[in-house]
Symmetry: C2
Subunit: 133 residues, 2 copies
């Protein structure tokens, strides 16, 4: 990228403003849900809306719809509507979308390294650490 001390220039791609390619990537796959969505689609041909909801019980319908549309607009996945009743809509990763799976795997590894270093607890299990906070 740039030499230490040199600021980057502002750029724009698909409506996202950023100063370096890394920021752009974070705009594309960052946020609370997008990495999870891509992760769940990573080695499956396609998945329908309701199946995705079941794998992510904490997401609301609105958020899932919204995130899926953004991922589609950014070319990371395809959305296929079947003209059936009840409705059927299937989502599948594109090649571009599959390109970020290795990054998510690295993130997973780092997360586990982090857990190994600092320890993990079960949430909702009040422990010494939780009590201190």
């Amino acid at each position: 990228m740039s030499e230490p001390g040199t600021p980057c220039s502002r750029k724009r791609c698909l409506g996202k403003e950023y100063s370096c390619s890394m920021e752009l990537s974070l705009a594309v796959i960052g946020g609370k849900w997008k990495p999870l969505i891509v992760w769940h689609l990573r080695d499956i041909a396609a998945m329908r809306f309701s199946a995705l909801r079941r794998t992510m019980p904490a997401i609301t319908q609105k958020m899932l719809t919204q995130q899926l549309r953004e991922l589609e607009a950014d070319g990371l996945l395809t959305r296929t509507v079947f003209a059936e009743v009840p409705p059927r809509v299937e989502y599948a990763l594109t090649d571009l979308g599959r390109g970020i799976v290795p990054i998510l795997e690295s993130l997973c590894r780092f997360g586990r390294e982090f857990e190994a270093r600092f320890g993990v607890e079960d949430a909702d299990a009040p422990t010494a650490t939780a009590a201190v906070r």
Copy 2:
């Protein structure tokens, strides 16, 4: 991680709640500034506060301080205060912090791939694409 269709369980590490290691990583290095800070420190022994500010002109003092403290609390960097006047404080990546540099490099590569696919413009340069929005 889990089989398709199986939700993950809630965990906690260093006060952060998450459902899978990937989410934990994003809690640690996600956000608008942290990746940039780590990036600027990536191949330099140490850097002082004012130098970091110069490389990231858009960040405010408050945000830089806050993000640096969080990165320190998560063990990604060290903060060294020199008892001098005017004050001098230096920040340096730890081994743990250096561990995420390869991930940031992957993000950079993906970002460039994304740019290549969809095209980049200079921000503040009103173009056809900008006019359409």
